[in-house]
Symmetry: D2
Subunit: 285 residues, 4 copies
């Protein structure tokens, strides 16, 4: 497939907005490979994702943003322009649990995740050798309640050094403070091991067990200052029974966490997610 | 299939309990058609469901309870004995929404729900004619906040008159007060239109929409005095997207509510549910 | 919601097609409420569904087709134009099993299925009274192998009399011959009680049981002359275990059949399905 | 948890069989931690899984088989006795695709799969270093149509050398011949990338795409001489749409393959699977 440009657009809903964008691309002989729109009639917001081939397009990729700006201005659009051959630069945060980390590493290595994996940062040294083995820089940044703000500063330095676009908390068991959250608005994806908003906070599998639910879930969301309250990108559930104790809920939940996180990361990397308020529009993959 | 007896047992976990029950049935030449047990190692509770054919069994059905009582006493068992050819007597509570009511009526009429449907009680007159058509007694008991306790007294009278064993709230939109709950402990099944404990209380689909979840759910549980806190019998979820407004969540949710309620009612009617604390053991169907 | 027009378009994939349609609607001051497109890059076919409000649109609804025809001609489009306030006219075919029939009747009655239900035709008399009760014309057309072609002629006469747009086989247990199929190309929806193409032909639940599968399924598809080979509209599966005998597979399967058929019928009624070859494009609901 | 013994039993269905086994365990002061039975009423076969603690049991583990043999003889039982602290010895077969292999390696390393992983055999050299890294012996056994039987002999030698109990085909892309199949009856688990029996044979994702299905699936089964016809252990499906081309079906399918294979392997390792004819009984985990 030849490289494409992706426009992620949002603006107040109004007549003519679809036509204006389509006409812009047609005027430059663009070939649209994917277009999807959504209107939130309550909020009156229009959202669109348009993907078109760069090959044969009448504008050089460096001219597209400025070429499109009159339309953006006319409709009051927020515009996000990405190119499929310039993959995002990603940093992974990990703790001791390996399942999400190994899964993302495997998907990246096999080419399933279209990204440039720059660094793994962990507050435990355990995964150093698998990262070395795969050729991914690994940074061990231990943390305690006393050193937390300092450790986060180091983390921000490492992420900045690698010019990371997306941070993925692959079961990173620390709560990030505002200095990190604010540095990467809607660019940090976290996985919570429950069907949010059920069982927010600590030990969700224990909470689920105590409540006697018949399903467990996992939720991938953007990290915000309000813990477990960020915009949801993906969720999934699976059936459990009275047989499942906390240990087996935890084990079964790992598969959900792994798959839901990977699904959310892929959607983000493919420029299919638009955030508005505390919600997301996730265009079909 | 010939008629069977079902023993639902629970007691403190201890050695020999499985053997004692199996030996009792074997001694009387019983043929076990289904046996399943569960141990909650944390609470130290043993649960068992044993189903055996009445035909050829050495004791008359009226002698089984007393014949088994020495074992029950030895192990401190709570015993619930039911016969498959003596179906439970069921009362349905309904309001205006028809989907759960019609579904249960259809399943009952086609023989899928092994019960004796005695009466439908509703606080709206809408479903009188479908009930007349199917030959199910229908009682219209309108309610207002002023008349609520009085209306419930009438309801209890009707349920009592029909000697009902199980009450199913088929999207009955009133909160039952303690006088009804206490009269039917763990004998009232309610359907809540969310994945509990997420979105307890009113308007769960609106809550779900506001939170931007990617799944909606439904939960069937025994009604208790603590609203939406009763032991969960069955749950299910389905995927939704940003496209779904409150109306479409509500519509999609109806299928979940319908199926989850029917599944829970069937499990109860087949004597597959044991309640302990705020949880259930639901043996496989 | 005000009435809308829906354009279902397909044509050879080519540049400018999205822009041309969007520009047509914008030129007439139309407000697009939904637009989705799909390109099959292998077959080189472009598909689009565009929905826009009739209110405020610059052309009267009777002028839209002719107004759009220059664009349709330019791109070689197949065009299907529908109005949301002119619901399809539907005929249901039934046999003895009630679950799909009752479900569709219930959804229609509660306004969930946007259609004009004209007639129920059955080869058994069983459902006459429920139809009478709901005010839907019921026609009993018994059939034997000897009378089949004659019975189908009667069926076609009834369907024609009611000017039916869509025929739904709600577990109608007869195979329709070419004279019926050809009269309603891609306008007859059937439900098959397996995950097609597994278990084509008769007794799929028995086949599933004999094979020992761990999932059962249901498939809604357009009826074609090649039995069980028509374009698939919707499918779903559910888990089963070794405990399930043919009877219980059949019972569990009914819920799948019911929901999958309703989902497919709704997609068709909402003009979200495009057929090409033996496949469908089903736009999101 | 203290070590347990697991009895997997099957015999002609007859009265007293449950009691005899329960009595045997009770007589030796055993504490049953799990017991589940199943009767196939059509075939007239009884199946049971009983798990009890070794600690405090009146017989030494080496005496259990002989102690139980009178009961086994009386009822004509097939008996399989396993101890939870003597994990199975496993060999993995792999080709180029890493997803199933890496997943099983990760689950093994994190202790989720209770087995003794002895060797990975592959017909491609790609995974040598990850195995070295994890400390699992890796054997590269390239194969061509000319050398197939010879290569399989080498494979059998390696498996024999490691006294392997279970062989898992982790997307091993070669068809095993009878000499391997016969050496490990119901001890080789394969993953097929479709919902069997749909799309047997080669290129199931292409077949699925050509047929236009709305779900894809994966099936884990015991390998038998009849390709894709072996007893099914686990299956799962996931929704797809017209948007999915063969490549994306393949990618989405990988998650299904991975999870279904892991689920089947875990069931086998936990002695929860009984094969009879071309079917399995899989007791709940």
């Amino acid at each position: 497939m030849s490289p494409t440009a992706v426009l992620l657009l949002s603006c107040p809903d109004q007549r003519g907005v679809v036509a204006a964008t389509a006409e812009f691309i047609a005027r430059h002989e663009g070939n649209i490979t994917h277009a999807e729109q959504h209107v939130d009639p309550v909020e009156g917001v229009f959202f669109q994702r348009v993907e078109f081939e760069l090959e044969g397009f009448g504008l050089h990729r460096d001219e597209i943003a400025s070429g499109f700006s009159p339309i953006a201005e006319r409709f009051g659009m927020k515009v996000d322009l990405r190119f499929s051959d310039q993959p995002m630069r990603v940093g992974l945060l990990a703790s001791r649990q390996p399942h999400c980390l190994y899964d993302l590493l495997t998907r990246w290595r096999t080419g399933e995740l279209p990204c440039d994996l720059k660094v793994v940062i962990a507050n435990h040294p355990d995964h150093a050798d698998i990262c070395a083995h795969l050729g991914v820089p690994f940074r061990y940044l231990p943390v305690s309640s006393a050193t937390k703000l300092e450790q986060e500063k180091d983390m921000l330095a490492v992420l900045g050094e690698h010019q990371v676009d997306l941070v993925v908390m692959a079961r990173y068991m620390q709560i990030l403070s505002a200095q990190v959250i604010d540095a990467y608005p809607h660019q940090i994806i976290n996985i919570h091991h429950s069907f949010l908003p059920a069982f927010i906070g600590a030990n969700p599998y224990r909470q689920a067990h105590d409540r006697g639910v018949k399903l467990i879930g996992a939720t991938a969301h953007y990290a915000t200052e309000d813990l477990d309250e960020g915009p949801i990108i993906a969720q999934e559930t699976d059936r459990v029974t009275h047989r499942d104790d906390v240990a087996s809920l935890t084990q079964k939940g790992r598969d959900l966490e792994t798959i839901v996180l990977a699904r959310a990361v892929r959607a983000h990397l493919e420029h299919r997610v638009l955030v508005y308020g505390r919600k997301t529009v996730v265009f079909a993959g």
